[in-house]
């Protein structure tokens, strides 16, 4: 049983990592506390659901379309909400409140269109296969495969490409970045788009497995934030490690205690890290708190 729990936790952790990378792509580069990311997450899942159920698109093309949609949606958040505010040098508190407002609107528009209840995309019982004593369901295999591939490609690409370098430079000092003649606004848009893709991926993979509801985004986003903090702010690799660690830890809590204490452990962990190791496990130490 232990290995099964460990494996399940690892897969959940991969999804947290995806969402955490999606959140961190915005937070690390623009320092915007993008709470509306939970809305983007939900919207992507519903787009996926709508395409697969109502338009009759096959699962994989529908998911790919949902990723694209999430990217556009995230970019729209930047263009319509954050950019006008940052032009006026709004304080981070104002930006965060506007983000909370956007989240409220997105979630409730979705709830008005599709209803408040949980929807299921594929109602058949998922097939599963055994690997030794492990039981791996088909959605889990997808989750593991897709997220591992995306995260690996992302980490390598971020190290090698100019965009990765630009993104890190923007996060370090946006004023200096602009002084060197780079287009900060365009790089920001790139980060938002890429962040949307990751949020969308996490969303579709989880919606395919356990279904979707309008209010499902916030809990995932909270876990992603905790993953980002325990991994370490400022580094994408740390986010991934933090997500997997959090997933495994939560699974072990379920194994040893009960599922309803998962959140207690998660947020105790958050507070402990904030107080005693705010730079996270792998973060750069120099960051001021």
């Amino acid at each position: 049983m232990f290995w099964q729990f460990l494996f399940n936790g690892f897969v959940t952790g991969c999804l947290y990592s995806l969402a955490a990378v999606g959140f961190a792509l915005v937070y690390n580069t623009t320092h915007i506390f993008h709470i509306a990311a939970a809305g983007v997450y939900t919207a992507a899942a519903y787009f996926f659901y709508f395409a697969a159920k109502y338009l009759g698109v096959a699962i994989i093309p529908a998911a790919l379309a949902a990723l694209l949609f999430a990217a556009f949606f995230n970019v729209a958040c930047e263009i319509f909400v954050y950019r006008p505010l940052s032009r006026r040098n709004a304080s981070s508190m104002v930006v965060m409140l506007a983000s909370i407002g956007s989240l409220t609107i997105i979630v409730n528009v979705i709830a008005m269109l599709f209803g408040n209840e949980t929807k299921i995309i594929d109602s058949a019982i998922a097939s599963s296969f055994r690997l030794g004593s492990l039981i791996i369901s088909q959605p889990q295999a997808w989750q593991l495969f897709v997220s591992a591939a995306m995260l690996a490609v992302f980490v390598i690409w971020l190290r090698q490409s100019t965009f990765g370098l630009k993104a890190r430079a923007l996060g370090n000092n946006s004023a200096l970045f602009a002084v060197f003649g780079f287009d900060a606004a365009r790089t920001r848009l790139g980060c938002f788009a890429l962040g949307g893709v990751f949020l969308g991926a996490a969303s579709c993979l989880s919606a395919y497995d356990i279904g979707l509801s309008p209010h499902g985004g916030m809990p995932v986003l909270l876990n992603a934030m905790v993953a980002m903090i325990i991994g370490g702010v400022g580094r994408f690799f740390a986010c991934i490690a933090g997500g997997i660690l959090l997933g495994v830890l939560q699974a072990l809590v379920v194994w040893q205690f009960a599922a309803n204490w998962q959140n207690a452990v998660t947020f105790t962990l958050l507070i402990v890290f904030l107080f005693f190791r705010p730079s996270g496990l792998f973060g750069s130490r120099t960051r001021a708190v």
Binding site: L85, A90, S91, V94, M96, A98, N108, A111, N116, N263
Partner: protein, 294 residues
Amino acid sequence: MDYLLHIGVMVNIYILLALAANLPAGMTGLLSLCQAAFYGLGTYLAALWLLPWQLPIIFIAVLVMLFGGVVSLLISYASLKLKGDYFILATLGFQMLVFTILYNWTDVTHGPYGVAGIVGVQIFGWGLGKLSSVAAYFLVSAFFVGMVVCLFLHLRHSPFGRLMKAVRDDEIAVQALGRNPDRVKFHSFFLSAAFSALAGLLYASYIGYIDPTSFTLDESIFILCALFIGGVGNVKGPVAGAVFVIILPEILRFIGLPDAQAANLRQIIYGLALILAMYFRPQGICGEKGVLRL
């Protein structure tokens, strides 16, 4: 008439909550996402232990407020150590922890079943005579709100109120002038939590049934919505915000949407109002100008 009085009681409760949230967020400049946690803790303390004893309401109110204040020490300690987003995350963590405990510690809090049949308040041991219970609660809550509003009106021009605003505007300058900003933060959170807990006491005794889902992160966000739509920094703003968020659904009721949709529409309007306020009118309906830097 009872319907109007009911709305009146709810408005009073939310005025208390918004004024309480205004202390850290509007006066001292610390955004906290755990106002509903203090509200919930006050509610549960009152419902489980204080109200069944049938003590006079003033006595219960003092105990509940003290309890809220003592719990707030945790948050103010966090506010000393953590800055900016990290502090907001810590308050968020605290909010989630309190909710999880209220929800899962079933032996004490009855968990998701909630606490039913809460005994109402007694005023000096006599009850409230011939008044209908809604009217009585309206008077009691109006009495408390009146007290708190007077206190806050006084606070604005008192040395303590000015000190809070100074901490909000420039913490280092406050230190340079020989004042201790840490103490100000402790005081402002203590008062904020105390008044939130007081609102909890009123809520518990008025509604008579509580369950943890009234004290989620969403409730914290809702309180902040009320505060920031109304405006921060002074007394008018939070009061206007609380009135707005409570009256709005009652107006929407007359449009005749189905219940589920009406709830969603209401939320959409709150969200929109919050964003528009942030764009065009950061001082809210009638808050103090220049508190939120744009």
